[in-house]
Amino acid sequence: MAQDRPTAEDLLEAVRDFLQELLPRLEGDLLFRARVSMHLLGIVAREMREGPALDAAEQERLRNLLGRDGDLDELNRTLAARIRSGALDDQRREVFDHVRRTVADKLRIVNPRYLEEGD
């Protein structure tokens, strides 16, 4: 290990617990922003835990879909451009399923409960 304890995840949890403690003393805009802040800390914690594996899976899917390599940013720019130009029109279902899967994975990091709610 490169850093001393507590772990980075533990630090996030400590800050979240503190914000939770503050909540009853806050109101209006400050209360709202404190809750948003807790939400952001939760995102960071989930991203640290699950992000790398989800990114790797996305990158693999993009390589297969686009037939080229690159970092995630480049691959997504290519995908976006090809969708816009119509170059992927004969692979619509495959593209759609990939994009929905990728968005669902983003949701796993940002708000996993949203995936459970359904319609």
């Binding site: 952001l40 997504n76 976006a80 969708i83 816009r84 759609f96 983003k106 940002v110 995936l115 319609d119």
Partner: protein, 337 residues
């Protein structure tokens, strides 16, 4: 923004100018909204004791209508409020526009209306329980009246990107924020391929939804936030109202989490004199989800690139994926049966 003491002094001068020298500013408070805009509440008390409750809106954006601030200037909002008021749309009465010499920037004063604006409170607080079943029909009536306004009265809106071509406007904004969003690209393709045949052009509110109503126990009292108005298909407003994001978790009530489509459509048809095509509403709901993704990206862009630092704006950038998810599902599932 200037400090509150200076605001009070300058506002007092403005009020004397508009209401007469004996008028006093009292109970100045609120000053909500950080950064470049601010909302304050105050009363104007006349020598005989009459009290006029007002809201002061101030904005200090350098320009309006561009990629970093697509909203209308206060002067245009003021004009639109007056046009809507004259047409019987429930909006606050306007009182005065700020003059540059007032030293308070751009802005205007309007009537202050009491009531609740926060969606979760409107949907959960017992005070509004009896209002909820009426509100979809009220929305239909309000939009019906709004869309009867002659488009020639608001010709000054014709040059804005959303008036010219709403799909192109969203595509341009997406490009301005310089992030790749394949889900939005899929949405843009769908919208291009399914464009409805030309419909009539009306004044579109542009942000008519749960969150922009002042509500009392009897229902909707007032419609706020006239910053996004443009010319377009009236079904844009109907679709936006039904976007899933504005149901705030009450997903079995498609209209704002409080009402049913049938009530909305029936009232709209009755007041506007025009039929509602559910297929068109579906189209503009898809468009609405895409547009809402892009508004979130705009807030995020402000946080990341424009120094408009805020946890709320930061969250917008991440929360956009919820809306992308809804967008993809709606495209895939088609209109409700």
């Amino acid at each position: 923004m200037i400090k509150e003491a200076e605001l009070r002094d300058r506002l007092q001068s403005v009020v004397c100018r508009h209401f007469g020298n004996g008028s006093r500013v009292e109970r100045l408070r609120g000053a909500m909204g950080g950064g470049s805009n601010r909302t304050s509440f105050f009363d104007v008390v006349s020598p005989n004791g009459t009290v006029v409750p007002l809201v002061l809106r101030q904005e200090t954006y350098a320009t309006y209508g561009g990629p970093y601030n697509p909203f209308l200037s206060p002067e245009m909002q003021y004009r639109l409020l007056r046009i809507a008021f004259a047409a019987g749309v429930p909006v606050p009465r306007t009182y005065f526009l700020l003059d540059p010499e007032d030293g308070l920037g751009d802005g205007f004063a309007m009537e202050r209306i009491e009531g609740e604006t926060i969606p979760r409170k409107i949907l959960r607080d017992p005070s509004y329980r009896e209002a909820l079943p009426r509100m979809a029909a009220q929305c239909g009536e309000i939009l019906g009246r709004l869309h009867r306004i002659d488009a020639s009265e608001v010709a000054f809106l014709a040059g804005f990107p959303e008036s010219v071509d709403p799909i192109a406007a969203q595509r341009q904004r997406l490009d301005d924020y310089r992030e790749a969003h394949p889900a939005v690209e899929l949405g843009l393709r769908w919208l291009e391929e399914n464009r409805p045949s030309a419909s009539r052009t009306a004044l579109v509110h542009g942000d008519f939804r749960n969150g922009n109503f002042i509500v009392g126990p009897e229902g909707i009292r007032s419609v706020l936030d006239w910053e996004c108005c443009h010319l377009g298909s009236p079904m844009e407003d109907v679709g936006w109202l039904c976007v899933k994001s504005w149901r705030f978790g009450v997903n079995d009530k498609p209209v704002g989490g409080f009402g049913d489509r049938e009530a909305l459509y029936e009232a709209y048809e009755r007041v506007s004199g025009h039929p509602v095509d559910p297929g068109q509403v579906h189209y503009w709901e898809v468009y609405g989800l895409l547009r809402w993704v892009i508004f979130n990206l705009m807030q995020s862009f402000g946080h990341v690139h424009l120094g408009r630092r805020s946890v709320v704006f930061a969250a917008c950038g991440r929360n956009a994926c919820e809306v992308e998810y809804d967008l993809l599902n709606l495209i895939d599932s088609g209109p409700p049966r």
